[in-house]
C-alpha cells in the first residue's frame, strides 16, 4: 500500500488483470479436482473441461464413505496433526526464545545442529527411526508418529527470528525492574508470541495432515491409519479405482487443511510478516 502511487508504470487494471490470471492458474487444478469429483466418471476427461458439472452428483462422495472408514481415519489424522502442531508450537517457542534471547554456551553449534536436521531426507533415516521407536515400544501407535515430529527445525528458526524481531528494550526494562529470565519470558515476550506460534502451528498442520511416507512405514494396524493412507485404497487394485471417487477422497481430505488455513490466515499473515523481517 505504502508504495502504490508511483511504483508502477503499469496501469492498476492491467496489474489486477494479471494477478487474476495468475490466481486462476493457481486455483485451476484445485477447481478441476473439485469439479471432477462432482461429475460422473464418464465425464471425467471431457475437453473442454466442464468446470460446472452438467448434472452434479455426490455419488463419488458416497463411494468414499462406503469404501473406507472416513471417521476413524479423520479422528486419527486429527489427533496426530493437532498434537504435533501443539507440540511443535511449544518446542519451537521455547527453543526459539532460548536461541534469540538467552545466553548460554554452544549456542552457535546447537543452532547449527537444529538447522542441519532440515537437510536430511526422511528416506535416509526412516529405518533407524523405526528401530528407535521399536526400542521405545512406539511402533504401530499414533504416538510413534507424533513424538518424533515434536522438534521442528524450521519452526525453531522461525520463532528465533520472531523473538529477535521484538524490541530488546522491553526485556531490558523488565530486567531493570528486577525480573529474572523466567519472568521476562513469561510476562514480557511470551504474550507477544501468539502470531509467530500460529505460523508454526498452521505449517505443522499442513505438512503433517498430508504426510504419507512416515505413516506408511510406521503404522501397521488398519485402526492406526491416517487419512492419506486410507485414501490409497480408493485407487483400487492396479489403479483401477474410479477417478471421481479418488478425487472425492482428495477433496474430503482437503477440507480440514483449508479450514485451518482460513481460520489461521490472519495470524499466519501477521506472523510471517513480522518473522521474516526487520522491525
Amino acid at each position: 500500500m505504502n508504495l502504490s502511487r508511483t511504483r508502477h508504470t503499469l496501469a492498476p487494471w492491467a496489474r489486477i488483470a494479471g494477478l487474476t490470471v495468475c490466481a486462476l492458474l493457481t486455483l485451476g487444478p484445485v477447481v478441476w479436482t473439485v469439479s471432477t469429483s462432482l461429475r460422473t466418471p464418464a465425464e471425467s476427461f471431457d475437453l473442454p473441461p466442464k468446470i460446472i458439472p452438467t448434472s452434479p452428483t455426490v455419488e463419488s462422495y458416497r463411494g468414499v464413505f462406503e469404501q473406507i472408514d472416513v471417521w476413524l481415519l479423520a479422528l486419527n489424522s486429527t489427533l496426530v496433526t493437532a498434537l504435533i502442531a501443539v507440540g511443535q508450537m511449544i518446542t519451537a517457542g521455547l527453543a526459539g526464545y532460548a536461541f534469540a534471547r538467552l545466553e548460554f554456551r554452544f549456542k552457535k553449534p546447537l543452532f547449527a545442529l537444529v538447522l542441519a536436521t532440515m537437510m536430511v531426507p526422511l528416506q535416509v533415516t526412516i529405518v533407524p527411526v523405526f528401530l528407535v521407536l521399536k526400542s521405545m515400544g512406539l511402533t504401530d501407535t499414533l504416538l510413534g508418529l507424533i513424538v518424533p515430529a515434536f522438534p521442528t527445525a524450521f519452526g525453531t528458526f522461525l520463532m528465533r527470528q520472531y523473538f529477535l524481531g521484538m524490541p530488546k528494550d522491553l526485556g531490558e526494562a523488565a530486567m531493570l525492574d528486577g525480573c529474572g529470565p523466567w519472568r521476562i519470558f513469561r510476562s514480557v515476550y511470551a504474550p507477544l508470541a501468539a502470531p509467530g506460534l500460529a505460523i508454526v502451528g498452521v505449517l505443522a498442520f499442513n505438512y503433517h495432515w498430508n504426510e504419507f511416507f512416515r505413516p506408511l512405514i510406521l503404522e501397521t494396524s488398519g485402526q492406526n491409519y491416517t487419512l492419506p493412507l486410507g485414501l490409497v485404497s480408493l485407487q483400487g487394485n492396479l489403479g483401477t479405482g474410479s477417478i471421481s471417487v479418488v478425487l472425492a477422497g482428495v477433496v474430503l481430505s482437503m477440507i480440514p487443511a483449508v479450514a485451518v488455513f482460513v481460520v489461521g490466515q490472519r495470524p499466519l499473515r501477521e506472523g510471517i510478516t513480522s518473522a521474516g523481517v526487520n522491525r
Binding site: 505504502n2 494479471g18 487444478p29 532440515m118 515434536f150 527470528q161 529477535l164 529470565p181 483449508v258 521474516g276
Partner: protein, 316 residues
C-alpha cells in the same frame, strides 16, 4: 532498529557478556532456563535425527540388504556410488531441478508480492493472497496424481489450453525436457506461495519513508524496485532461497508420481535414487552413502549461500 535477518545468517556481534563471561546469578538463571527451554528440541533431535543419521553414516560403510547381517565394506559403497552413472545423473538432475525450481519460485513469488502490494481494494488483496497460498495446503502426492492427468500429452487440460493459443501438444511427461519442465512447474506451483507470503511480509516492513524518499528522487517503476526495494528485501530473499534450496534438493514426490524418474533417467532425483536403491534393490549401504553425500551437498550449498550473502544482502 535491530537487524534480525543478519542474525539468522551469521553470528551477531558478541555482546560484552559473551566476551567475558561473568558468573552471576542472572547468568546462571539464564543458562538454566536455556537448558530447560532447549531440552525438548535438542533431546528430540538427538534421539530421532542425530542417532538415525549416525546410524546411516555407519551403515554407509557396510553392505546390508536388511535380510542378512551387515558386512563391513569400508569405502566400497562410496567407490561404487562414484562409479555409478545413475548416481551422477541423479545429482545433476537434482541440481538442475533446484536451480530452475528455486529461481522460478522466487521470481514468481516476488513479482506477485510486488503486484499484490499495489493499490487495490482490501478484500481483493485478501483473495489474491489466499489464492496464491492455497496450493501449499494440499498434499504433494495427491496433487501430483491430479497433475498427471492435466499434463497428459494427448488428453490433458494443459495441452488443450495450449492448443487454444495454437501451440502443438507438448510431450510433457514422455520427453526428457518436457518431463523435467513438468516436474519443475508442478513443484513451483505448489511451493511459491510460501516465498510469496515471506515477500509480502518483507515488503510490508519496508518503511514508507524510504520509498517516499526514493520517489522524490525521481525513481519509478522497475528502476525503483531494482535500486530500492530489492536491496531492502534481500534479507527476506536470503531466507526464502535458503529454505527453498534445502527443500528443492530433497524433491521426491513430484517426480516419483509424475514420471517415476523417466523417461530414461531424466527426472530421477537423488532422493528417488536413495529410495529405490534401499527399498527396491535392498542396497541399504549404498543408499546411505548417497544420503550422506546429499547431506554434505546441502550443507555446502547452504554455507556457500551464507558466504555469498555477505556481499549481496543488505541490512538496514
Amino acid at each position: 532498529m535491530t537487524n534480525t535477518q543478519i542474525q539468522a545468517v551469521r553470528p551477531r556481534p558478541a555482546t560484552p557478556a559473551e566476551v567475558a563471561p561473568r558468573p552471576s546469578a542472572r547468568d546462571r538463571g539464564s543458562r538454566l532456563l536455556a537448558a530447560l527451554f532447549l531440552a525438548p528440541t535438542i533431546v528430540g533431535i538427538v534421539v530421532f535425527t542425530v542417532v538415525p543419521i549416525a546410524g546411516s553414516i555407519v551403515l554407509s560403510l557396510f553392505h546390508w540388504n536388511v535380510i542378512d547381517d551387515p558386512s563391513f565394506a569400508g569405502a566400497a559403497n562410496y567407490r561404487e556410488v562414484f562409479g555409478d552413472s545413475t548416481v551422477l545423473v541423479s545429482f545433476r538432475n537434482t541440481l538442475v531441478f533446484m536451480v530452475f525450481a528455486v529461481a522460478l519460485q522466487l521470481l514468481i513469488a516476488l513479482v506477485l508480492a510486488l503486484a499484490v502490494n499495489g493499490r487495490m481494494p482490501v478484500w481483493l488483496r485478501s483473495v489474491f493472497r489466499s489464492a496464491f497460498f492455497f496450493p501449499l495446503v494440499l498434499s504433494a502426492a495427491s496433487i501430483s496424481v491430479v497433475m498427471k492427468y492435466l499434463f497428459n500429452q494427448d488428453f490433458g487440460v494443459v495441452n488443450w489450453l495450449l492448443g487454444l493459443v495454437g501451440i502443438a501438444p507438448v510431450p510433457w511427461l514422455t520427453s526428457e525436457n518436457g518431463a523435467m519442465t513438468a516436474v519443475v512447474l508442478v513443484y513451483v506451483w505448489q511451493q511459491f506461495g510460501f516465498s510469496f507470503l515471506l515477500f509480502v511480509g518483507g515488503l510490508n516492513n519496508i518503511p514508507k519513508e524510504i520509498h517516499e524518499a526514493a520517489s522524490l528522487d525521481g525513481a519509478t517503476g522497475l528502476r525503483k524496485h531494482l535500486t530500492v526495494t530489492l536491496p531492502l528485501l534481500s534479507p527476506t530473499l536470503l531466507v526464502a532461497s535458503v529454505v527453498g534450496i534445502i527443500n528443492a534438493l530433497q524433491v521426491f514426490e513430484q517426480p516419483y508420481v509424475l514420471t517415476n524418474g523417466g523417461p530414461g533417467d531424466s527426472t530421477r532425483t537423488v532422493v528417488m535414487f536413495i529410495y529405490e536403491s534401499a527399498f527396491e534393490q535392498l542396497r541399504f549401504g549404498e543408499a546411505s552413502a548417497v544420503g550422506v553425500l546429499l547431506f554434505v551437498l546441502i550443507m555446502a550449498v547452504t554455507a556457500l549461500q551464507f558466504r555469498l550473502s555477505r556481499r549481496f544482502v543488505h541490512y538496514q
